[in-house]
């Protein structure tokens, strides 16, 4: 009996650990002009597990409002800033990935109605281990308090433990 209790406690514990494997911090969507052809969602994705994870898909609760949702990364290459579509976003075991302006981001492309400040965008993130996370990202107009920390365009968004940059994509 004791063993069963212990086992179930351990099981419960392992479940709760699993549930917190991936944690989303400070999600937000960039406010954009009403005629903007796109806007983007940003956040920090923390991987508390011992396994590398990949964000493979992002979707919204109102897909009809957008032409498509894509994973993107802005990179400095050949003296230019390039926004390159990504198959996935890597979140290294025990590491984190920061989605921020000028770096990794989830593109919300061709919105019929550009989400406004005060509203929020409900996102579902899907990872390569099959897990899903629902995120509610408030729309913000990224103002002065960020003190330029978001402007490091050529910084990779990753934590020091995160995956090294993939090779520049050949055109």
């Amino acid at each position: 009996m004791k063993k069963i209790i212990l086992a179930s406690i351990m099981m419960l514990a392992s479940i709760s650990v699993n549930a917190a494997d991936l944690v989303i911090d400070n999600p937000w969507v960039r406010a954009a002009p009403q005629n903007a052809p796109a806007t983007a969602a940003f956040m920090k994705i923390i991987n508390n597990s011992k396994v590398d994870k990949k964000l493979v898909k992002a979707s919204v609760s109102n897909p009809d409002n957008y032409k498509v949702i894509e994973l993107h990364r802005t990179l400095k290459q050949d003296g230019m800033m390039k926004m390159i579509k990504q198959e996935f976003m890597p979140i290294k075991a025990g590491g984190e990935l920061v989605l921020q302006p000028g770096s990794w981001h989830i593109m919300l492309i061709q919105p019929k109605a550009v989400p406004k400040v005060g509203e929020s965008v409900k996102l579902t993130l899907e990872f390569d281990d099959g897990s899903k996370l629902d995120v509610e990202a408030p729309v913000k107009k990224m103002k002065g308090k960020m003190k330029g920390m978001m402007m490091k365009h050529n910084m990779s968004g990753e934590h020091k433990k995160a995956m090294p940059m993939e090779k520049p994509m050949k055109k």
Partner: protein
């Protein structure tokens, strides 16, 4: 004794010239001086329905950035950065000009709505691509039109016609340095990436305060 005399006058000379040099060119954290400042090539662009040309840049400091109104990430990030500068800078904020490198799509109205969203004083500049190219190539701005195919970027050649299905969606890879034009309308300093609020403000303040 003579040697000591020569040596000490040499040291004095070095110190004096260093002081003169430093007073002319204050040491900057991130920006690069264009020394001597360079005349811009003659250009004729549009600020809404008004002409925008070399004369428009005289008697005030100006900041120039090159981009396009449909820019999804880099231009909004940089314009918001420049808005942050305007809110934190202690000297008079230079006029900010956002020069389009996408003449075929950027109408004056789109450019104005776009720049005004970040700061109502920011000015969108459009006009003929050949005219904006004069400025951008002078500044060493590089750009290329691209679209995504099979997860990779494909470049649309400079003079190629853009297929209809890509007209709305092509992106532009472009440099994102910020250019400072002095009151004589000359290129005075360049702020390369990455742009950080504190060093940007300290550099621009030093440059402006040390002018003439």
């Amino acid at each position: 004794m003579k040697k000591i005399y020569i040596f000490s006058s040499l040291i004095v000379a070095v110190i004096i010239s260093a002081v003169i040099l430093m007073s002319k060119l204050p040491s900057l954290e991130v920006a690069r001086f264009v020394s001597p400042a360079k005349d811009l090539p003659k250009f004729q662009l549009q600020q809404n329905d008004k002409p925008f040309n070399n004369q428009s840049l005289k008697n005030k400091w100006s900041i120039m950035f090159f981009g396009y109104a449909r820019c999804p990430d880099v231009c909004p990030t940089e314009l918001m950065f420049l808005n942050n500068i305007s809110e934190n800078i202690k000297i008079k904020m230079p006029d900010v000009y956002f020069v389009s490198v996408d003449a075929s799509r950027d109408t004056p109205d789109m450019l104005n709505k776009f720049t005004a969203y970040f700061n109502k004083n920011f000015i969108g500049i459009g006009g003929k691509q050949t005219e904006s190219d004069k400025l951008s190539s002078f500044m060493n701005v590089i750009y290329e039109r691209v679209y995504h195919k099979d997860g990779k970027q494909v470049i649309i050649k400079k003079n190629a016609t853009v297929p209809d299905e890509l007209k709305d969606s092509y992106l532009i890879n472009h440099s994102a340095d910020i250019y400072l034009i002095n009151p004589e309308g000359k290129l005075h300093a360049v702020f390369p990436l990455p742009h950080k609020l504190d060093s940007f403000i300290s550099d621009i303040t030093r440059v402006v305060n040390n002018y003439k």
